[in-house]
């Protein structure tokens, strides 16, 4: 499973792709399964074509956690939640099942979870 993330230009907030929109909660993100690779590509391309809305658009890998989907990598989970030293800061402040699932997620993560990390020159 994959989702697509970015930072919003105007305030830097972490956002996720949902059917042509950018939403703030990971729980609202559109999830793409393995046979939707071309949809992921198309959505990333659309996002990259919105330079006044978002910056640094990329897909992330997900794993299952407590029956929900969570980013594979620790880095992406921190982006989706907020800093672990201030539990009332960032998106985690509002709590709920999705936040709990993200907090408990663990697993064999790639170093950053970014699918397109290696840039070949």
């Amino acid at each position: 499973m994959k989702a697509i993330t970015a930072n919003r230009l105007i305030d830097g907030d972490v956002v996720f792709w949902k059917s042509g929109q950018w939403v703030e909660r990971f729980g609202d993100a559109q999830l793409f399964d393995e046979n939707e690779a071309s949809d992921v590509e198309a959505a990333v391309a659309t996002g990259k074509g919105q330079p006044t809305v978002v910056v640094d658009v990329y897909p992330i890998d997900l794993i299952e956690s407590e029956g929900r989907w969570a980013p594979v990598s620790y880095r992406e989970r921190i982006r989706a939640l907020g800093p672990t030293n201030e539990l009332t800061h960032g998106k985690q402040a509002e709590g709920g099942d999705v936040v709990e699932a993200l907090r408990h997620a663990s697993g064999a993560a790639r170093s950053t979870g970014r699918v397109d990390l290696i840039r070949r020159k």
């Binding site: 930072n7 230009l9 105007i10 305030d11 830097g12 907030d13 972490v14 330079p51 006044t52 910056v55 640094d56 594979v72 990598s73 620790y74 880095r75 921190i78 982006r79 907020g82 800093p83 672990t84 030293n85 201030e86 800061h89 960032g90 697993g107 064999a108 993560a109 790639r110 170093s111 950053t112 979870g113």
Partner: protein, 552 residues
């Protein structure tokens, strides 16, 4: 403190307006992110994991109460109520919105603060001694020379696009509180046999992925030739620094590749071509700058304060604070007071808006309007009367700012790490909190004595782990956070780079490992030996044994 004149003030207003225009053009799509990024970085604005981060320069770590209150206001109005002091004496805000950044720069400019050259491949803020003007150890006030360099290097046309960032540190005391030997240039002010002053010039120190203690390339540079010599060093670097490879672009790589002697020779050659009359600071201008650091109007007081002695005898908490956080002042009847930003469960270097306001009030009421930032992420009230110390202590205590742990094991340097930083591989803050918790017992911490733990969340080493007595480096092993320990580093006058202890440990084993290292130290230390001294005497093996033999 140096007072901005009308030119400085107009310059900051212009600069802020320019950035407002750049932000507007970016938001309107008139410039691309690739075009905008270097512009925002030149104004200290980074994009981190959760938001933009604004790094504000605190020239040589010196702030007045008006500035500190303005920082508190920004923390409250534009951040989440706190700021983070860095290992280069600056302050960062972690939750900044791009659309607010121009307003924030305006508000900073009103109190003579800015974020210029806190990022980018230019000469960054000069680090200096937080005890400047207060310690009897110094032979001159290093702030004077820091200010000279600040004015010279700000928007220097030749040195605004260096191969890589460039950091200078200056100390005028034998005891180095600036980590001068691991800066691109370290300037150690010395007194010559004839009483004249000169700098020992160290070039090519640094941390990051290739750490070096810098070699001395000039033993005694007469102070009046400082700027022309710096120009020669920068020019050689600008010409030959490795622009082709970001990992080899710092001056330390060039100095190591050429050898210190050859580098020094090239600098001398370049220096001989420079017209001193053009490049060096005129005596009148030096005098003008020096005048703004005029002597603090201390009162003539007895060296002994009865109120202070009485409080020390009656209040063991105060006595402990004095033992650990109060240092000797050059003026009888005064003291230097360190304010620890390393309370239990606190994020190292963080201060809330309320704490900043308390510090500003204390500086105003009891400290000649002077507050300093240390590279160890603490604050300093450099001039407090011994008579006032009990009152100051009570106020600090009420604000959660009286943790008596300066230079002790819980006074840990930590970078923001993966909790905030886009470059980090692992978290640093929770590791610092784990270790501090392990040594929460202050009697035990005092018994262990001076022990500097420094934690970085990646190899860039913002947390100075290479020069820690016990260094902790976060690494990423297949997506899990692991931590590599190193021993025997020092960023002080006895500078050295730490040696890796052994295989990296998982996060939940780090505090235990530190405990084991301390146990090994306590079992073999001799009288008066610090952890670092014991390590240097006995070597790595007993410590390796303590951590890895038990880990099996």
């Amino acid at each position: 403190m140096y007072q901005y004149d009308i030119i400085d003030k107009e310059f900051l207003v212009d600069r802020s307006n320019e950035f407002r225009g750049q932000v507007a053009r970016r938001l309107a799509g008139e410039i691309t992110e690739d075009q905008f990024k270097p512009l925002r970085l030149m104004n200290g604005l980074y994009l981190q994991l959760h938001a933009y981060m604004l790094r504000i320069a605190v020239p040589y770590g010196s702030l007045n109460p008006t500035q500190v209150r303005r920082l508190a206001e920004i923390a409250r109005d534009y951040d989440k109520g706190y700021g983070h002091f860095t290992t280069r004496q600056n302050i960062q805000f972690n939750w900044i919105k791009l659309k607010d950044a121009p307003d924030i720069l305006d508000k900073l400019a009103e109190v003579d603060l800015h974020a210029i050259q806190t990022s980018g491949n230019c000469i960054r803020n000069t680090t200096s001694d937080p005890y400047a003007g207060a310690t009897a150890e110094e032979i001159d006030d290093p702030r004077v020379w820091s200010e000279v360099i600040r004015q010279w290097s700000t928007l220097h046309p030749e040195f605004s696009f260096l191969p890589r960032k460039f950091k200078i540190a200056i100390t005028a005391s034998a005891k180095d509180r600036t980590a001068a030997k691991v800066h691109d240039i370290g300037l150690l002010l010395r007194q010559g046999r004839d009483g004249s002053h000169g700098f020992e010039v160290i070039v090519g120190g640094g941390q990051g992925r290739t750490p070096y203690v810098g070699p001395t390339i000039k033993q005694f540079l007469p102070t009046d030739r400082l700027l022309s010599y710096l120009e020669a060093v920068l020019r050689v670097y600008n010409r030959h620094g490795r622009r082709d490879n970001i990992y080899k672009a710092r001056i330390k790589i060039l100095v190591a590749a050429l050898g210190a002697e050859e580098f020094a020779r090239q600098v001398e050659e370049e220096w001989s071509k420079i017209d001193a009359a053009r490049a060096d600071l005129p005596a009148a201008e030096l005098a003008r700058i020096r005048a703004s650091f005029a002597k603090t109007p201390f009162e003539t007081l007895p060296a002994r304060s009865e109120a202070f002695e009485l409080a020390k005898a009656n209040d063991s908490a105060f006595a402990r604070f004095v033992r650990n956080n109060v240092r000797a002042h050059k003026q009888p009847g005064y003291a230097i007071v360190e304010i620890s930003l390393k309370a239990q469960e606190q994020t190292p270097g963080d201060a809330t808006a309320e704490q900043l306001e308390v510090a500003a009030d204390l500086a105003e009421r009891f400290g000649f309007n002077d507050l300093r930032v240390t590279h160890a992420q603490n604050l300093v009230l450099p001039h407090v009367k011994l008579d006032d110390l009990p009152t100051v202590f009570a106020a600090l205590q009420a604000a959660g700012l009286a943790t008596p742990n300066i230079d002790l094991i819980s006074d840990i340097i930590a970078c923001p790490g993966l909790d905030y930083c886009a470059l980090a591989n692992a978290r640093a803050i929770p590791i610092a909190q784990d270790i501090a918790r392990q040594f929460a017992d202050l009697d035990r911490a005092e018994n262990v004595g001076e022990l500097k733990i420094k934690i970085s969340g990646c190899i860039n080493a913002c947390g100075h782990h290479h020069v820690a007595h016990i260094g902790v480096l976060g690494v990423d092993k297949k997506g899990e956070e692991f931590y590599q320990l190193s021993l025997g580093g020092s960023g002080a006058e006895d500078a050295s780079i730490g040696k890796i202890l052994g295989p990296a440990l998982p996060a939940d084993k780090v505090a235990t490992a530190v405990d084991q290292l301390v146990g090994a130290y306590l079992s073999v230390r001799t009288d008066g030996e610090r952890f670092l001294d014991t390590y240097r005497r006995v070597g790595l093996e007993p410590f390796k044994e303590a951590v890895y033999a038990q880990a099996d």
